[in-house]
Amino acid sequence: MSSENGMFGAQGTGDTSGYGGLVRTAASTGSSERPYGSYFDSVTDDLERAYPDFADAIERVVVDRGELTLHVKASRLVEVSMILRDKLKFEMCLGVSGVNYPDDKDRELHAVYPLLSMTHNQRIRLEVSVPDSHPHIPSLVEVWAGNNWNERETFDMFGIIFDGHPGLTRILMPDDWQGHPQRKDYALGGISVEYKGATTPAPDERRSYR
């Protein structure tokens, strides 16, 4: 999925330790095989029964570290959510978390929705991936009203545009801010710290371990 060069953070600093030649590739988690274990099998079976287009809409099912993640196609997100809410009783959506994977070509922006079923005491996760060039995801405000501010925050921080949101504006940054701060290509923005006789560079420019 992604590879990292060198041992230390900053590149091109004349590092002669020899660790500059290290290349580390991070493996991506592939799809999981059935049986998934615990309640995940029953949840996926129920969803498949209630939603005939399951195979088309759900790209991947990942069971990792005791948690179930359904990777959903952006266009089918609202349908899948409605069925999860109404038929499988996942009444509560705990927000949207955006993640930016710059190395995942054409799937750079992910939106992760943790869902909670209080009736069955179960948790699952929905994940939607969209490319940088067309960062549109349908809004889930009509399914779970609490996603209103969370989607605004994800838009503010990552630039993902939620189609159908009643009022998609910046929420955490000032209204006229340029850029989306939590993306990986946005600098941390610190200044170098002044001491007596020297300055220390900002956290994203220091030499440090990766």
Partner: protein
Amino acid sequence: MGLEEKLPSGLVLTSVEKLAGYMRKNSLWPATFGLACCAIEMMAAGAGRYDLARFGMEVFRASPRQADLMIVAGRVSNKMAPVLRQIYDQMAAPKWVIAMGACASSGGMFNNYAIVQGVDHVVPVDIYLPGCPPRPEMLMDAILKLHDHIYDEKLGPNREKIIKEVELAAMNAVPTHQMKGLLA
């Protein structure tokens, strides 16, 4: 401004300075500007155990128009900075500012896009109080040092003289990162 600014330099002015200083320091009213964690320690300093009322400061005025002291307690984000300046402007002179905590003094541990790296970028600060958060006793120490500072404040022609001297010293000073440390 007031009559005290028009007195000529001399014994009368010195006595008036001392009287005005004594009055001002003993009933300094803070404006509520608690932002984050330091605000909780400021509230604890105003509560029962570390009592600010013994210094005449238990009334935290909600309106800046009635306050003398602004304790900037907490991290100031870029969105909050214009509001901070507006509150400072609405206070009537004489007014003082304490930057409470590391975030208010210098941006603290948050050296990033969102936090103003020290409120002295926005308002003039009289006392910088380090800590994350500073204990209520540390806040009281800062306030008492400010009290001494206020007591010694000059008026009229004496004040103008001091202001000129301070400005000249600041203009000729070596920048901090060019100063030599203890080893040099």
